[in-house]
Amino acid sequence: MLGLRKKDAGLLLLVTVLTVMAPVLLNPFPVDSAMAQFNAGYPDLMQRFVIFGIFAIGFNILFGLTGYLSFGHAAFLGVGSYATIWMMKLLTLNILPGIFMAIVFAALFAVMVGYISLRRSGIYFSILTLAFAQMSYALAYSVLTPITGGETGLQIKPTDTPLLANLEPGEIGRASLFGLEMSQSSIIRMGGWEFTLNVGYYVCAMAMILAFYMAIRIFRSPFGMMLRAVKSNQNRMYYTGLNARPYTLAAFVISGMYAGLAGGLMVAMDTQVGPERMFWTASGEVVLMTILGGAGTLIGPVLGAGMIKYMENIVSKINDQILHTWFAFLPDGLEDAVVAMIYPFVGKGWHLTLGLMFMAVVIFLPGGLLEGGDRIRNAFRRKRTGKEDTAKQRTPAE
C-alpha cells in the first residue's frame, strides 16, 4: 500500500498519529498548574514544530543522503516566504497559490545556487552555499528594501487589496484556505486541561505528513540509493560511468523546495516576513537540528527541530518570578539559593542550556537524539531478555 514497506508504513503511521494528537500530547499539564509552563500545545509553537520539521526533513534529504553540507538553506526558506507574502498581498488570501509559488521560487533559486555550488564538494561547497545565502540576506536587508521591506519586513496591510479577495476598505486580510481562516481554533476543555485545535496547525501537519511520506519514498527509491552512493564513494560512481552531478543537483533542488514549502507555510501561519530569516544563523540552525536529531535518519531531524524550538520558546520564558513560585515550598534562604542556581540556565540564559545540550548530545549520543531513543529501547529489551535468560537458567538449576 502506497509503496511502503511494513516498517516504513509503521513509522508513517506513528508520525501521523503523533502530529494529529499533538495538541493533546503537548499539553500534558492542567492550565492552572505550575507545570503548565512546560505545555507546548499552543498553535504558534505546534506550527513551528511541524514547519521546522519540514525544513529539517528536506535538509536531511541533501545532507543525510549525499553528505553535502549546505550552509545556506535558510535562503530558500526566505525566498519562499517572500514569494508567498507577495502572492497574498497581490493575488489572493488563499494560502495554496502562495505556497505553490513559494515552492516554485525556492526551486528556481535552488537550481541556480545548486548548479554553481555543486561544482565543488566538501567544505568548498559549504562556503559557496553560505556565500549565496549571506548575499541574499544582506541585499534583502538593505538594497532590496522596495521588494523585501528591509529590516521591518513585509506584512499584510489594510491598504493591500488582493485581486481575488473581497475585503471591505480598511479590513486587514487574513490567511485562509478556501474561506477557513488559519487563525481559527476550537478549544476543548476537559477538567483542568485545555486543548487547542487550530486550523493552521492541521494544515501544516498535513503538509508535514505529506513531506514525510515523500521523504520515505525518496529514501527507499533507487534515486535515494544513488544519493547514498554519492556519499559513500563518489569516485567509484564516476568510474562506473555514472555522473553524480544530476543526482546531487536533484537532491539539492528537492531539499530547496522543502525549505520553500516551510517558508511558505511560515507566512501562511503568521503573515509576515523579515530578512533575518535568511541570516547564516538560521541556516546553521537547520544544520544543528538535523545533526542533533540524527542525520540520515528519517525522523531524527524532526525531533531535532522540535527540541531546538522547544528550548527557544518554552525555556526562554521561564523568568525568576516563575522559579520563585515553583520553589516557594522551600525555606527562604534555600529557595533563593536554588533559584540563583537554576536561573542562569533558563529565561535569558536559555542559550547556555542549548549549547550544553548540543555538547551533551554529541558527546553521549553520537547518532543524535534518535540514538538516545534506540539505546533506551535496547536497554529495556536487553533487560527483559536478560531477565528471561536468567529465569531460564535458574529453572533447570533448581
Binding site: M1, L2, L4, K6, A9, G10, L12, L13, T16, V17, V20, N39, Y42, P43, D44, L45, R48, A138, Y141, S142, T145, G150, E151, T152, G153, Q155, I156, K157, P158, T159, G170, E171, I172, R174, L180, E181, S183, Q184, S185, S186, I187, I188, T196, L197, V199, Y202, D270, T271, Q272, G274, E276, R277, E312, N313, S316, K317, N319, G347, K348, H351
Partner: protein
C-alpha cells in the same frame, strides 16, 4: 499492509473528529467575552517582550526592570512611583479594575520572527491582554502588526523609526517613544546655534529602515536651516569596523559627521571616528564636529570617553526634573523608586516601558473595560502630565505621543558610568510636532481597532 489500512481508517476518523470541532470557529479564548483573552479570574496578564539575548540584551534587561517596577506599583506595592504624580488619578494601586496584575516575559532576540513567536505564545498560551517592550523598530512593527491581527493592545517600547507610527501604524498599537523626525526637528536648531548655519554634513547611515528615516529627518531639518549635505553613505548593519567608511570623511570637504547609527553600530563608528582624529580635526577653517541623532545611555556607556562633547537627542533623561524643574514632574519619583530597587538610575528605554504600562493600565481604568477598542478610544487624544516628559498628547491620528525632546551632550568628565550626558536644551513640543500626513510618515493608515473576536 494491514497496519496501513488501519491508519487510513484511523486518519479518516480523526479528521472527522477534528472537522466537527472546527465547525464552531472561534479565535482563541475570545468566545466568552467578545474580545481576545478577556481576563476571567481575579488576575490580568500582561506580556513583556524584550530582547534577552543578542546585542541589546542589556537594554532589554533594563526594560524588564522597569516593567517589574510598574507592575509592583500597579498592584499597590512599593512607593507607587509615578502613580503619585500622574495627572490622571484613575489608578488606585489595586491592580487594574481590581484585578491583580501578573506578567509573562519573553525573548525577542531582536529578530522579528522570534519576537512574533514570543508574542504569539504570550497571546495564545498565557492569555496576555497587552504586549509591550522591544528595542528595535523592526521588532516593534512586526509585533504591532501581530497584535492588530490578534486583537490585543501593543504598547511599543524603544522604537525610533518613523515607520512605527508612520507607514506601519496600526489602530491597536501605541508609541510613547519619540521618533526620527522629532530628533531631527529638535536637534537642527541647536546644531545651528552651536556650530553655525554654514556647515557641510557627511552622513553615515545604518543600512536599514530606521537608518533611512533618521537620515531623511536629519538631512531635511538641517538643510532647511542652511546646512549642506556633502554625502551620505550607507553602512552594513553587520559592520563592526567602520574605518573604511570613516577614513574618507575628513577629505570630503565636510565639517560635520552625522552618525545615523544605533547600538553596537554607534559605539563602533563613534569609536572609530575618534580614533581617526575627527574630534581634533579642523575642516573649512572650523572645528570638526560629530553628531549622533539618537542617544542611548547604555550605548553611551559602551562608547566610553569617546562621547565627550557629542550632541544627540533623547526621549527622556533621569536628571530632567532636577535640572529643569517642575515641568518634568514624575521623573524624580520614578528615579527614586527605580534607584532604590536596583541601585542605579533608569535608562530612557526603562522609562518609556514603565510609562507605557501605566498609560495602558490607566486607559483601561478610565474606559472601565479591558476591551481593546475601549482602550484605544481612551488613549486616543489623551492629554496627560506628570510622567516625566511634561504635558503630553497621545495623538488620535497616528497613536504617537507628542512631548518635549531632550537634546543632550556627552559629558567631558563623567563622575560615574550612569551620568554620561548633560542636558543642553529641551525642544518644546510644538517645534517637533508635524502633520499626521507629513511626507516622512505618509503611506500608512491605522485601520480600525480590532477586538479579536
Amino acid at each position: 499492509m494491514s497496519r496501513f489500512n488501519l491508519t487510513r481508517r484511523g486518519l479518516i476518523k480523526t479528521s472527522a473528529g477534528a472537522a466537527a470541532g472546527l465547525s464552531l470557529p472561534t479565535y482563541l479564548r475570545a468566545q466568552d467575552s467578545g474580545f481576545t483573552n478577556a481576563p476571567t479570574g481575579d488576575t490580568v496578564t500582561l506580556g513583556f517582550n524584550v530582547p534577552q539575548s543578542g546585542p541589546y540584551a542589556d537594554e532589554g534587561a533594563d526594560e524588564l526592570r522597569a516593567f517589574e517596577l510598574a507592575v509592583e506599583h500597579l498592584n499597590g506595592e512599593g512607593d507607587g512611583g509615578m502613580l503619585q504624580t500622574f495627572s490622571s488619578q484613575a489608578l488606585e494601586g489595586t491592580g487594574i479594575l481590581g484585578k491583580r496584575v501578573e506578567f509573562v516575559t519573553g525573548d525577542t532576540q531582536t529578530k522579528s520572527d522570534a519576537a512574533r513567536a514570543s508574542a504569539r505564545s504570550m497571546i495564545e498560551k498565557d492569555g496576555a491582554i497587552m504586549v509591550s517592550g522591544g528595542s528595535s523598530s523592526g521588532v516593534a512593527v512586526a509585533v504591532q502588526a501581530l497584535c492588530q491581527e490578534a486583537g490585543i493592545i501593543f504598547m511599543a517600547g524603544l522604537t525610533h523609526s518613523n515607520d512605527t507610527t508612520g507607514k506601519d501604524r496600526k489602530a491597536n498599537g501605541f508609541r510613547h517613544f519619540f521618533n526620527s523626525y522629532m530628533s531631527g526637528a529638535a536637534l537642527a536648531p541647536i546644531l545651528i546655534d552651536q556650530y553655525g548655519a554654514d556647515r557641510k554634513a557627511y552622513h553615515l547611515t545604518a543600512d536599514y529602515n530606521w537608518g533611512y528615516t533618521t537620515e531623511e529627518a536629519m538631512v531635511s531639518s538641517t538643510e532647511a536651516l542652511g546646512w549642506e549635505t556633502v554625502n551620505s553613505v550607507k553602512t552594513p548593519l553587520t559592520q563592526t569596523d567602520f574605518s573604511s567608511y570613516i577614513a574618507p570623511v575628513l577629505n570630503s570637504g565636510a565639517d560635520v559627521l552625522v552618525l545615523n547609527h544605533y547600538g553596537g553600530n554607534m559605539v563602533n563608528s563613534l569609536t572609530n571616528a575618534v580614533q581617526f582624529g575627527l574630534r581634533e580635526a579642523e575642516a573649512n577653517g572650523k572645528q570638526f564636529e560629530i553628531v549622533v541623532p539618537l542617544y542611548s545611555e547604555l550605548m553611551a556607556r559602551g562608547a566610553g570617553e569617546n562621547i565627550a562633547g557629542i550632541l544627540g537627542s533623547q526621549n527622556w533623561d533621569w536628571k530632567l526634573e532636577n535640572q529643569l524643574g517642575e515641568r518634568y514632574i514624575g521623573t524624580n519619583a520614578f528615579v527614586q523608586s527605580f534607584g532604590e530597587k536596583y541601585g542605579f538610575p533608569p535608562s530612557q528605554a526603562a522609562h518609556t516601558c514603565y510609562v507605557q504600562t501605566l498609560l495602558y493600565a490607566d486607559a483601561v481604568a478610565r474606559a472601565g473595560s479591558f476591551q481593546p477598542c475601549a482602550v484605544v478610544e481612551a488613549l486616543e487624544g489623551f492629554e496627560f502630565d506628570g510622567l516625566g516628559n511634561g504635558p503630553t498628547l497621545y495623538r488620535a491620528e497616528d497613536h504617537q505621543c507628542f512631548k518635549d525632546v531632550v537634546v543632550v551632550r556627552g559629558k567631558e568628565n563623567p563622575e560615574n558610568e550612569f551620568d554620561l550626558v548633560e542636558i543642553v536644551e529641551v525642544t518644546p513640543t510644538d517645534q517637533v510636532t508635524y502633520e499626521p500626513d507629513h511626507p516622512q510618515f505618509a503611506g500608512g493608515s491605522l485601520g480600525s481597532c480590532n477586538n479579536g473576536a
